[in-house]
């Protein structure tokens, strides 16, 4: 008997491929517009906060030059630094400068802020990259192993290790590593500004807690995915476990994992202040710590704005990657 054909009309309940791409583009464009607004608001808030913050940059600056400050000198210095003009004028000027890549001059030493930020950013990126690489190299195999051999010996060992790594504060870990590898075994210099060998210990200090969290998450994501109905279906079809794990389970789980990585990168860029200070790594975290003590407002403002931009852009990229990995999230636009 002839089997009736499923009619072409009900064929694709959703859209075709070109429609999918258009949807995607539209979403990205929308996100970019959103992003611009977010950054505008952020820049305003940053400027406002610095405006309202106690302390007087002019006074601080004169004091740092070691002269006795008179009222006249203070007024003249304020005038020279442009602190007496109205708030919105100053905000506007600063914003237009920023858009041209000019973040103003550092209050501390009159040098432009942008190159300082750039140099710090470069070092911090190297540190973040190094620690992320270490994290992924360790966390992926470990997470997969403990999920696949759930309840086995490696799973238990990794559970304890990741618990310990997760509960250890960064600064303690940094000091322990320093003691072990710089004092006991003299493998690395205590202070190595720049240089690859100076990158290893701070990267490890950041990577160990992060990897500990990732192992738990990767394990959980894989276990959730392994209990999905399609895994049972594939097993019933006799599909090899290797295909199920690497071609399907890991692929489906990677969307969520990637989101966490994206968030982590943001945290790493801004949050490695403590580790950078301990190892005297000339990153942006150390730069901003020094600037906060010196009330170097232009540097702080630049820092917040740059970090905000990085955070938002990484978020956008993560979002796009997530959609590509799981096309279901794109069709219901």
């Amino acid at each position: 008997m002839q089997i009736p054909m499923a009619d072409d009309y009900t064929f694709f309940r959703h859209r075709r491929r070109d429609q999918y791409v258009i949807n995607m583009m539209r979403r990205i464009l929308l996100r970019i517009i959103q992003l611009i607004f977010i950054l505008l608001i952020l820049s305003f808030l940053v400027f406002l906060l610095m405006y309202l913050a106690p302390g007087d940059a002019a006074e601080k600056r004169l004091m740092s030059q070691g002269v006795a400050v008179t009222k006249e000198m203070l007024t003249a210095e304020r005038e020279r630094m442009g602190l007496l003009r109205p708030f919105f004028v100053r905000y506007g000027e600063w914003l237009f400068g920023v858009l041209r890549g000019d973040f103003g001059l550092s209050v501390k030493d009159d040098l432009p802020v942008a190159p300082k930020l750039l140099a710090g950013l470069k070092n911090t990126t190297a540190l973040a990259g190094g620690s992320l690489l270490l994290t992924l190299l360790f966390a992926f195999p470990a997470g997969i192993l403990s999920a696949v051999r759930q309840g086995g010996i490696p799973d238990h060992i990794l559970r304890i290790l990741s618990f310990a790594g997760n509960s250890m504060p960064n600064f303690l870990l940094s000091i322990l590593l320093m003691y072990a590898f710089c004092v006991r075994i003299r493998l690395f210099p205590i202070i190595a500004e720049g240089g690859i060998e100076g990158l290893v210990l701070p990267s490890l200090s950041l990577a160990i807690p992060m990897a500990s969290r990732f192992i738990r998450q990767i394990r959980a994501e894989i276990l959730t995915e392994l209990s999905a109905e399609y895994v049972r279906g594939m097993r019933a079809r006799g599909v090899k476990e290797r295909y199920i794990l690497f071609g399907n389970v890991l692929r489906n789980a990677s969307g969520h994992i990637l989101t966490t990585i994206g968030l982590q990168v943001g945290t790493l860029m801004g949050g490695s202040v403590v580790v950078e200070s301990i190892f005297r790594w000339p990153g942006i975290g150390k730069l901003v710590m020094d600037s906060i003590t010196a009330r170097d407002y232009p540097v702080i403002m630049g820092f917040v704005l740059v970090m905000g931009t990085i955070y938002v852009v990484i978020n956008l990229l993560t979002d796009i990657a997530y959609r590509v990995l799981d096309p279901r999230t794109s069709t219901h636009a």
């Binding site: 008997m1 002839q2 009736p4 019933a236 079809r237 006799g238």
Partner: protein
């Protein structure tokens, strides 16, 4: 009489603490079609799970013999090797048996290559065509969530048939299809079984399907096979009151 392919001997099985199957016995010869009819919750699906060995169905007594080898007795790894090429499954929820985010071509390829066979686009297109899918190339390029339930069911049937298993388990294989298509698919399965000498173990709550294709049927109630026999015999002269009630309740499938 052909050689017995699957023998189930006094099988007791439980799901967790709860006993689900009680003293089940039947045989399926090579190329034979056995249909188990029963209400939801009677233990039909558990029986299939026990044969597949994938879920945590605990065999507490009796045995399941495939070509004389005990399935519950063999190591998991060996049992898994039988799936696909020897024992196939058309699952109850076909859409759920594929990874929703990947194109079917990749998934069919994995299914075929896992059996040590080479993937050929032509064979896949033919297999899809054989179960009544129009435009098989397009279907291969789409993802399961983009297709209707009926189409997914056909794909699941095609995927189960591609490795040419000797025993095919069908768990309500036509539940997502409309009556006309269901009838056609049942006919298709029947002719495939005859032409390839594939044994079928079907589980359904639909007596009409059983009547249409099976050699023998078993009526299942509360985990027991209360009546077993050749299809004609059971349907013409049901011994049990329950079977008679089931028969009376069936809408006729012409």
């Amino acid at each position: 009489m052909a050689k017995e392919l699957l023998k189930i001997r006094n099988l007791y099985a439980s799901y967790g603490e709860e006993p689900v199957l009680l003293d089940i016995s039947f045989d399926i010869p090579e190329g034979g079609i056995f249909c188990i009819v029963g209400e939801s919750g009677s233990g039909k699906s558990t029986l299939l799970k026990a044969v597949l060995g994938l879920d945590r169905v605990l065999v507490t007594g009796g045995d399941i013999l495939y070509e004389g080898r005990s399935l519950p007795g063999m190591p998991d790894r060996e049992h898994r090797k039988l799936l696909g090429r020897e024992i196939g499954l058309i699952p109850q929820n076909p859409a759920g048996s594929f990874n929703p985010t990947r194109r079917l071509r990749a998934q069919i390829r994995e299914t075929v290559e896992s059996q040590g066979m080479a993937y050929s686009e032509k064979a896949a297109v033919e297999a899809f065509g054989a179960v009544g899918l129009t435009n098989p190339e397009k279907v291969l390029s789409s993802r399961p969530y983009e297709l209707s339930g009926g189409m997914n069911q056909r794909i699941a049937i095609a995927a189960a048939l591609l490795p040419e298993p000797r025993l095919l388990l069908c768990d309500e294989a036509t539940s997502a299809l409309d009556v006309v298509t269901a009838g056609a698919v049942v006919d298709e399965l029947f002719s495939l079984s005859r032409s390839r000498n594939t044994a079928l173990l079907m589980v359904t709550h639909h007596l009409g399907i059983a009547k249409r294709m099976s050699d023998r049927i078993g009526i299942m109630k509360d985990g027991q096979l209360i009546e077993t026999g050749s299809t004609e015999e059971v349907l013409a002269r049901p011994r049990e009151e329950y079977t008679r009630r089931l028969l009376a309740a069936v809408p006729r499938l012409s």
